[in-house]
Subunit: 447 residues, 2 copies
Amino acid sequence: MAVAQFIPSSSSLTKRTTLYSSQLSQYLSSTHKPLLTLRRTNYAKICCSVTSNEVQAPVAKQSNDPIKKPECFGVFCLTYDLKAEEETSSWKKMINVSVSGAAGMIANHLLFKLASGEVFGPDQPIALKLLGSERSIQALEGRAWEQCDHAGVAMELEDSLFPLLREVSIGIDPYEVFQDAEWALLIGAKPRGPGMERAGLLDINGQIFAEQGKALNAVASRNVKVIVVGNPCNTNALICLKNAPDIPSKNFHALTRLDENRAKCQLALKAGVFYDKVSNMTIWGNHSTTQVPDFLNAKINGFQVKEVIRDTKWLEEEFTEKVQKRGGVLIQKWGRSSAASTAVSVVDAIRSLVTPTPEGDWFSTGVYTNGNPYGIAEDIVFSMPCRSKGDGDYELVKDVLMDDYLRSRIKKSEDELLAEKRCVAHLTGEGIAVCDLPGDTMLPGEM
Amino acid sequence: MAVAQFIPSSSSLTKRTTLYSSQLSQYLSSTHKPLLTLRRTNYAKICCSVTSNEVQAPVAKQSNDPIKKPECFGVFCLTYDLKAEEETSSWKKMINVSVSGAAGMIANHLLFKLASGEVFGPDQPIALKLLGSERSIQALEGRAWEQCDHAGVAMELEDSLFPLLREVSIGIDPYEVFQDAEWALLIGAKPRGPGMERAGLLDINGQIFAEQGKALNAVASRNVKVIVVGNPCNTNALICLKNAPDIPSKNFHALTRLDENRAKCQLALKAGVFYDKVSNMTIWGNHSTTQVPDFLNAKINGFQVKEVIRDTKWLEEEFTEKVQKRGGVLIQKWGRSSAASTAVSVVDAIRSLVTPTPEGDWFSTGVYTNGNPYGIAEDIVFSMPCRSKGDGDYELVKDVLMDDYLRSRIKKSEDELLAEKRCVAHLTGEGIAVCDLPGDTMLPGEM
């Protein structure tokens, strides 16, 4: 597997620590070659200590701190000059990865994958910045432990001893947590409550993503890559990018990779081949039931799907539904959400951007339509076929086939996204919202 | 990271499939170079189809099948001759990994790690055989879907498209699921019910592990490596190995790696160093509150712990408790079990056996005491310091320090394990059980 070549645009490597214990002083003075350079931090208030030793003793936050930071956690309050140590001096510069919804099930899988090195490579040290939920904010009124609903996962990350994981911090203010973020993985979103209309869901989540867009615009790396997982993810991504005018709109993604993976699996099952034989799979449009898994351009063993699966009825009538219903089957039959496979698909989505796309293949991701060659409406977030050189950026694939069936399906998803856009106009700075949404198209299992 | 060099002792690579669809026949006849060799399987009854196409259509099981097999799942019912394809011809022979408790939270993390290649390496194809729980057995009375409580995780594994994962099968009979197993990861165990005495827990889980030991003895690879995670894991491992006389007792492990990892983290926190600076950490004894995290032999930056942490009171009175209580803190404070970090520690335990131990270091694992150099009672499963050449085997580390404090703590854990052994004598073939267990020593959060 090729190693990620993506070089972050801003350095996050700082030397800092909250440590000045007597034991450590003794230790440092008793060794002739101290491996660490230590200085007092100026943002050392710690909310989530789980042990009572001096490493985590609270220190007053200096009010003249020019940059707000989330609170570090436990052993991760230590950060070293990686270049000063033999075993880490060949590593890349540390990257900052911010994750919202970090106390949830998807993040519970994803954070360990990020920390293990399997996403960004074995020489890429990583800082994880966890954004707390609204529950955390409410709990701020005095209850010290509960304010840190991400402390449990941070504690498990500590116990996992991942060598590449050099920093874990937790905060509830996106303006702190997104500081210098080079990747923002936005998983957290409000689920739909009983009786809530789709417009209500768009509004309540839209507000979260508007706020997070503003925060990214203010404090994140100027080339931050944003992957929106929280649903409705396409329109959430649109709201987010509209609120972050100083960050390239191109850098915002809505996750449709799980749909792509599921579509490949269903074609493989039908054709009787292993799933690694399916390539060039596009998910077009919205991450909803109007999504279009494209069997016209997909290939099986290099052959067009229709040459291998000669059952047009199945392709046109059953295939798409099978892809959409996977999440619902999981929930209904086994009472489990697709957390693990969603996390895998986020890993796939990141890897597709930081490793060169194999010759002749492509991947799907929901991106901003700005000069697309397919005749899709501009100024929405639409899943389309993309290729990457492995630098974190991508380009649209231009030589795809279109037929009437595909075009009509794409049009339906486009119409839906345009309606969603009108419904969140108050959040994108484009006037008064008008909600004329078509029927409910949330994917089963993703309410 | 070094790549696993462990070569499995028996081949599990077979060519088989349940496929003979008309589409596939058309496909194969329409291509001049078929990549797969297909033949009908003789064990093709499938219980867990989640789609309705012909790939998963039930086929009568032949009654003269000489070897019972678990049921394959979905796309994994296809198995190929890996050597016949360009991209897989350099891969190692597929290994069979059997996992019990595969519907639980620990396995939900572990299975995806196994499938991704991060455990056994990027050129090691893998077959996962999932052992269903008693709930599955009960559900066998006619309810087709519920009988497969592992089908949900199998479906998510399908959707993850792991190239190395070539087979997933599900069964409820260990004599089927352990067939040719080269690794058996025994996670499943009964939790203690309300009012259940520890002796009752030992008995009910001991019976499960006696049965699984017999099954391993009958059908697993003659050099299978067994890692027992289900608690009480030391005595479960002893029962298992006693019921598998044809498999080397040396091959059975009780997982104490999470304790080792936690101990390293706590020493790092206290010393104010990153956890990768802590080495030579031994957990002695039972995976219970009598466990002995060894600060006499552990090192920090190559120095003895006592040279770095000059707080003997903390080391003797607080350190061990901090290690033990991590799981309890997670449960009590955040309502989460340590599933993710336990799965990471299983990965660490396997990697420690399939990669050479770094020079001068060691790892902890609960193994059969047979000629140990520490004066610990023979014929129990006791966690001790071990090294490996990376061939799946290990040797005990001999040059460790002992002092009165360490010896007295080890003695207490030894006494406990000897008492547990007397309490399961009916399951190890050593006569009538006598339960004179000391007080309750289950770890918090592991009831």
